[in-house]
């Protein structure tokens, strides 16, 4: 009854049922009146009872406890790291950030530990934030077990691009001017790339335009996935690193309030991820550029490394679901609710 055998068995059963022995066999069995009840099990009421007895729809992964993993995802939703701010003699703003690479076990679904590589101890890493034209200094210390780097998206001198490995115990300071405004991402760029990124070394990097955006409830969402058995397929899909985080603890929002979501896709092993909002439409600005063509829609997709800003208001009170429109990703953890009050 090995896998191999199962396949061949099934194939042959397909052919066989058409063949003489299948017919003879079923005749033989019918005559003996074996298991008539089994064959009809699907069509009777058994499934109605199973589906609706004590479980409402989509309650299949309910868990109201506030685990460590959930708390991390919740914190990453609204935490923005503006760095240490000083003013340079020429009037320019200088922001200094501390980034430490640490090997750390992260809870990615209730009770499941993932041996991650992190920036500052979370997956995704901190959301760095600054304003266009600021001078940025990222003081990077590698306290992990492997060489790492930080590769920032944006416009900067190539030697600050994070292609040089910083070895365990070493330090490096990335220095460049914040440019252009929009939503950027950052991630490790050490080979093997897929492994270093999948392990958790990535995050959002917001460069605000000089003319500030309209005030809003700002949320940070990084779409990611986790492959537990290293077979190149994710077991869990999450936003901010924890499965079903906002499914069980909906994000509270005020009616008609402007909500701005900084959304990026850092899922490894899958080409695309998506964001779909129920019962509403939103405006989408690719790469967070106001001058980019925007869309008015309820579903957008992002390829690996793609990101953008979603702006939305909710006209009615109640629960609005959001999730990956790839059903598989949704059912493996990438699903949540906005609770509008």
């Amino acid at each position: 009854m090995s896998d191999e055998k199962k396949v061949s068995r099934r194939d042959i059963l397909k052919m066989g049922t058409a063949g003489a022995f299948g017919i003879a066999g079923s005749y033989y069995l019918n005559k003996m009146a074996q298991f008539p009840n089994v064959a009809q099990a699907s069509s009777d009421s058994s499934h109605k009872t199973s589906n609706h007895s004590n479980h409402s729809n989509h309650a299949n992964m309910s868990d109201k406890t506030k685990t460590t993993g959930y708390k991390m995802a919740e914190r990453l939703l609204t935490d923005f790291d503006y760095g240490e701010v000083t003013k340079l003699p020429n009037g320019q703003i200088l922001r200094e950030y501390k980034v430490v690479a640490i090997d750390k076990e992260i809870e990615i679904a209730k009770g499941i530990k993932f041996p991650g590589w992190t920036y500052n101890g979370t997956i995704p890493g901190p959301t760095f934030r600054c304003t266009e034209g600021d001078l940025l200094r990222f003081h990077f210390i590698n306290k992990g077990s492997h060489p790492h780097s930080i590769h920032f998206h944006g416009i900067h001198p190539p030697e600050m691009d994070g292609l040089t490995s910083i070895y365990p115990g070493q330090k490096f300071t990335y220095e460049f001017e914040a440019n252009p405004y929009g939503l950027q991402i950052y991630h490790c760029h050490v080979l093997p790339l897929a492994r270093h990124i999948h392990k958790g070394l990535y995050g959002n990097f917001i460069i605000d335009p000089k003319k500030p955006r309209e005030p809003a409830l700002e949320l940070n969402m990084v779409m990611n996935g986790f492959d537990l058995d290293l077979d190149g397929e994710n077991e869990f899909y999450t936003v901010n690193g924890y499965a079903n985080a906002f499914m069980n603890h909906p994000i509270k929002i005020k009616k008609d309030q402007l909500v701005r979501i900084y959304l990026s896709n850092l899922t490894e092993f899958d080409l695309l991820n998506s964001f779909h909002l129920h019962a509403n439409y939103f405006t989408y600005y690719p790469t967070g550029r106001n001058d980019n063509p925007s869309q008015f829609t309820d579903t957008i997709m992002q390829c690996q490394g793609e990101r953008g800003i979603i702006e939305v208001r909710f006209p009615y009170k109640g629960s609005y679901m959001f999730h990956a429109h790839v059903s598989e990703f949704a059912e493996l953890g990438w699903m949540g609710f906005f609770e509008v009050e």
Partner: protein
Amino acid sequence: MKGKWLITGLIPLVLLIGVLGWVLKNGAGIEKDPAAPIEVLNIERIKVTKIGFELSVSNTGPKPLTISQVMVNDSVWNYSVSPQAKLERFEEGKVTITYPWVEGDPHTIKLITENGIITEGEVAAATLTPETNWSNFLNYGLIGFYVGIVPITLGLLWYPFMKRFSRKSINGILALTVGLLLFLFVGTLADGFEIGAEAPSVFQGNMVVIIGASLTFLLLIGFDQYQQRKQEKKGYSPFGLALLMATGIGLHNFGEGLAIGSSFALGEAALGTFLIIGFTLHNITEGIGIAAPLLKTKPRFRDFLLLGVIAGAPAIVGTWVGGFIFSPIWGAVFLGIGAGAILQVIYVITKMLIDDHKKHAEPSVSWLNLTGFTIGLLIMYFTAFFVKY
């Protein structure tokens, strides 16, 4: 003096315990912690119920483990574990999943432990697992009856036909029986290995089969020799030999019942049906084998009945066990015993054949005997086509 002598015996033992203790405490000196957590969760049986699935699981790894998430067909799903999600070493648990399964569809169930170790179970074609109730019990019993007792008794009906054979032809038939049995022996052993491989690796299913087979073989031989010495008899009574064959074949048929019962329990009704037809055809030949030693005697009708029941009834028990309480490790135990019993019958008949031909100053491997043996193997080989694919 005596004390000194005892101490010399104890010294190596004490030193050995010391060494083992040191290794246990400090490790073998190669690596202290395994690179990846070793967690072995075994799914022993998946029951498909009206409301979903019920998995019997056991922790056969070296350390306690905790079941933290369950996925069904690539979807995170709610579940409960009794007695609790944390299983101590060798502890058994039951995972209950409420799931709207689809009749006939394959369903993959993944259990994920705290450390992210994934154990996968498959329901090849979902259908309600037969409940243990009287009507199913009777249905399964009936299958066992049709597969076991009926064909063997039919095979025994060739007795009057074979009765007219000469001594040499009878020996040819016995050689044919050896062919049949050799095939059954290898087949039973292979089935045992196959089922044993599914048992938790800590139980070493293959070794269980080998231990079961060799111990049964030796025990039966030893018991025989003891009996013979006690009764000062030479050789077997024909009925005794037939009885021996019936017992060995019975244990083998237990394995057949097991295969049929578990295929129904696993929702593979079509496979079960194939097996029923195949085994029934296959088992007619076993009746011939059992009748062969009786050709020189005048057995009564109830002797045939008894032989038919002994050889066939275990199929009924096997169907029950396979259908209601199947577990790979017990399957390995029973099939191992079956193989050993068959081997012993081969040994006895071969010895008898050789002795008989020696007595008449003939070569044991006569053309007739070789033909019989070959036909025996071929009959089994071709009838087995109905159950192997």
